[in-house]
Each structure stands twice: as C-alpha cells, then as structure tokens.
Symmetry: C2
Subunit: 167 residues, 2 copies
DNA sequence: CTTTCTGCAAACGATTTGCAGCAGC
DNA sequence: GCTGCTGCAAATCGTTTGCAGAAAG
C-alpha cells in the first residue's frame, strides 16, 4: 500500500509525466517479486512502453511501440493482466474497440482523462486540487445511497485536435 | 436536437426518476418517426423496461424484465442500437462483462453513476449544481490541450450495500 | 535444476449481421 | 401490399486459455 516513489503532481507542469524510469523499474520489480513473479524481459518492455506513452495505450499500440521485441499478443495481454494484479498497471475501458492500459496511479499520480469520441484517443488530464476536494465531499452523499466509495473516474469527452481538423 | 420534454432535475429530489411514461413514449415515437422508423412493440417494450429500471441495465436484465415478451437477444441489441442512434438511449460501458443501457439524458436529466466494483451494478447519482459548474470551468482547460469538449462522465466506484455484506 | 514465462493455436463470449418470414401502417 | 422489423443461426473480434518448449534464478 505505502510506496515511497509516488509522484505528486502539482498541477503547474503541463508536460506528460516525468516519472523516473530507474525508480519505476525498481518499484515494479519489487511489487512483482513480492508476488513471487519475475520481472521478465517482456514485462519490462511493457512497462517501458507504458511509461513512454504517457497516456493510456491499446494493445496494438503497445505491440507497435515495442517493435522488434517480438512480443506475442497473448503474452502482452497476459503480462498486462498480471501487472494489473500486482498494482502496477490499470486497465482503462474506453468503450471503443480496445481496452487501454496505463501505469497505476500509485506510480504516475492521480489524474483524469480526455477522451476523443472520434478516434478513441485518451490523454491524461489533471484537475485543480479544489475540484478533487469537491469530489471527496460527494463520497458522503454516495454513502447515503448505501455505496461505500473507493475511487472515482472523471472523463471529459470531446474531439482531439487531429479529429477536429477532419470536419 | 431541440426537444420540448426535456426533464430538468433540480437536485433536491432524491427519488429515482419520475419521468412521465406518457410523455416519454410520445417523445420516443416522435424521434423514431423523424428517422422514418416505427415504434414497434419490441422497441416500446425496451423503452418501458429502461424507464422502469431507473438505472443502466444490461442486456440480460432487459430481457429478463421484459419476460414473456419473447424478445430475441439479437433484436434487443438491434433495438438498443437504433434507439441510441435516434438519441433515445445511451450506452454505458461499465467495463464489466456486459454493456449497460439507459434512457438518454435528454429524457431523464443529467446525472452520474455509482458503480459497484464487485457486482457491476450501476445506480444513478445526481451531484450539486455547484459541482457541475466546477466541471464547466474545466472545459476551458481542456481546450488548452487541443480538445474540444462536448460532454463529461463522472463515476464513483465502490461497493453497493449488497456487496458490502458479502465481505 | 526447478519454477515461471512465452508463443502458438484453439477457445470464449459479448455483440453484430445475413436472411427469410412476420408485422406495422 | 409495401417496407421495415424480428427471430434464428452463423459470423466477428477483442480477449483469454491450454499446452509444450524456452528462460529466469
């Protein structure tokens, strides 16, 4: 649960995610070993690709990015599933043809998504602290409905710059 | 696009959705006819089930609720797809085994979802106006990232009352 | 060496679709 | 009576899984 290398975003940095690769791999290796799993070459490659992507990627994107690594589709899916289980990867259902995968928030920091309703592309998006605080306030309201809230998901849907041009 | 029977929620009513069935069917019939489609018995039944559900339902749930109507699975899917196209139904991807379907927000009012991470159940959830206002403020920020926002999606994830007991 | 991975190919399962007969208007 | 809708069964397609050989430690 506790993790020393959590990256805290301050909202003032517009660049993707300066996650330190060194730390990242150390942390991932630790989490895998804790589950008596190996940090194999293909798992390493998947993590590397996700870190470089800086946004949720589909399986085809992951395979293409790891070009030459010759990773089989089934292995990639299997790796992703395992990484999800040890809390290194998070699966993002975009509702388009493919699921998307990104590094877990414990590694990249809490954020939300900008989803293109045209091409399905998903970008990361951080919101002001006061907004997040407002969300916390809603948790109590949900409790009144019998729900015990663990997390939330906030997406803004629209058209990315590329797809706006196509109109 | 414009529609006279849009239901506006004021956020003070905790009950599900007092959508008037009469109005609902009239509106749906109008939208279908506008697309030169018929308001067939099975489409009617699907709309009725969704209205009664008051929350996003899966296809199995829809078929079960319309018991006796003998609606074929493929027809239900086809009806739902058509209703989505004419703006009567909205598809909600829960990320669990089945997609879910609910009446379009133009018929039920804008709302969000409480999602049970255990059983996949989804309940409707309305947030205070000031919260929605805060969301609008984020649209401009997204624009700075090249995205033109059309809508948003906010889900709170947790465990429903039934699934809390199972622990 | 032993245990855990990987690739391959087959299996799955939710959703979609072609087609011939039925229903709405 | 047309035209559009429905059920049935087959096809899709992203994702999962069984298995035999290949790596990790």
């Amino acid at each position: 649960m506790s993790e020393g290398s959590v990256v805290v975003m301050d909202g003032s940095d517009p660049s993707p995610d300066p996650v330190d690769l060194e730390d990242l791999h150390v942390t991932v290796g630790r989490r895998l070993r804790a589950a008596s799993m190996r940090y194999s070459r293909s798992r390493f490659s998947v993590v590397e690709v996700l870190a470089a992507g800086g946004r949720p990627l589909t399986l085809p994107e992951i395979l293409a990015a790891g070009h030459g690594s010759g990773l089989a589709q089934s292995s990639a899916y299997r790796n992703l599933g395992e990484l999800v289980e040890v809390g290194v990867v998070r699966r993002v259902e975009s509702g388009y043809e493919h699921s998307r995968f990104e590094l877990h928030e414990s590694l990249t920091g809490h954020h939300h998504h900008l989803v293109c309703i045209e091409c399905g592309r998903v970008d990361d998006f951080e919101v002001p602290d006061e907004f997040e605080a407002g969300i916390e306030g809603l948790v109590g309201e949900a409790a009144a409905r019998g729900f015990r809230i663990e997390s939330h998901r906030f997406d803004m849907l629209g058209r990315c710059s590329t797809c706006q041009e196509k109109v």
